[in-house]
């Protein structure tokens, strides 16, 4: 019973950690640059969850003031994550533009092939 409670209380944290670690793994292990950007996105969204999930209060409602409700979830993480999402898409666009330029200059988006091509020159 205790164990079950512990699992329910921390399940969100564990999933967040799993998402974060798999994002890290993709960024480190995969040579393809678009795949790396997808991994970076995974890492980023796991951080969104990390911020949002402690702000949730059981029995609370979304933080829109109304006379029918008294318990609201924490609005502050929502604001921070709104900013983070929008900045995230800006950096993603920049990264993809860089990938397109790299593909133009080297003819590939694989890290290994780019390094090999540089050694040949």
């Amino acid at each position: 019973m205790d164990l079950l409670q512990e699992i329910v209380a921390h399940y969100n944290h564990w999933i967040i950690i799993f998402l974060m670690v798999s994002g890290l793994y993709i960024v480190v292990a995969r040579g393809n640059m678009i795949k790396k950007l997808v991994g970076l996105g995974l890492f980023q969204t796991s951080v969104y969850l990390l911020y949002l999930s402690p702000g949730k209060i059981l029995g609370g409602t979304p933080p829109i003031i109304s006379e029918h409700f008294t318990v609201y979830s924490n609005p502050l993480p929502h604001v921070l994550i709104l900013t983070a999402i929008v900045v995230g898409v800006a950096t993603l666009a920049l990264g993809l533009a860089l990938v397109v330029r790299i593909n133009e200059a080297f003819g590939t988006i694989e890290e290994d092939e780019i390094f090999a091509g540089e050694e040949d020159e």
Partner: protein, 180 residues
Amino acid sequence: MVLLTLLAAITIGIIRMRNLFAVVVLGGIYSFLMASVMIVLDAVDVAMTEASVGAGISTVLMLGALYLTKTQETEPAHRLLLPFFVAVATGAVLVFGTFALPPFGAAETPMNLHVAPYYLENSIRDTLVPNVVTSVLSSYRGFDTLGETTVIFTAGIAVLLLLKGKRGVKPGPKRRRVRR
């Protein structure tokens, strides 16, 4: 909990797929699932943004980049054991850290007792906006939002500079502003 498990399943799919087109589409599904999780977590504004920006614009940008590059990932040449080990070790340390965190849904945590009650109590009086997220974003912390738009503006300029004169072999002065 079911949604979170689905998220994990999709992540495994993203790791294993070699076809980048499938990866991008899975990324879109992931973003929509993430938006559903956010609704469950009472973050309705964030969920809307994630669904439109994360699943919409990001996917379109990714597909555009795929159109300009290649859609198949090659097999990795080097060993993957070390990154895997690093990832698992990091995860283990982080899981160890979670046991000191407050349980999910608790109201009496320091984070929920610090400044958030001030915003909830005074939002109507100060700004006349019932949606507290909006009032914090554009009134209490308006300068942060201004800085955010500066970041986006800078990124937009950088993308323009990077892709300038891309397609045209003879970059005429009028054609140089074409973005994609």
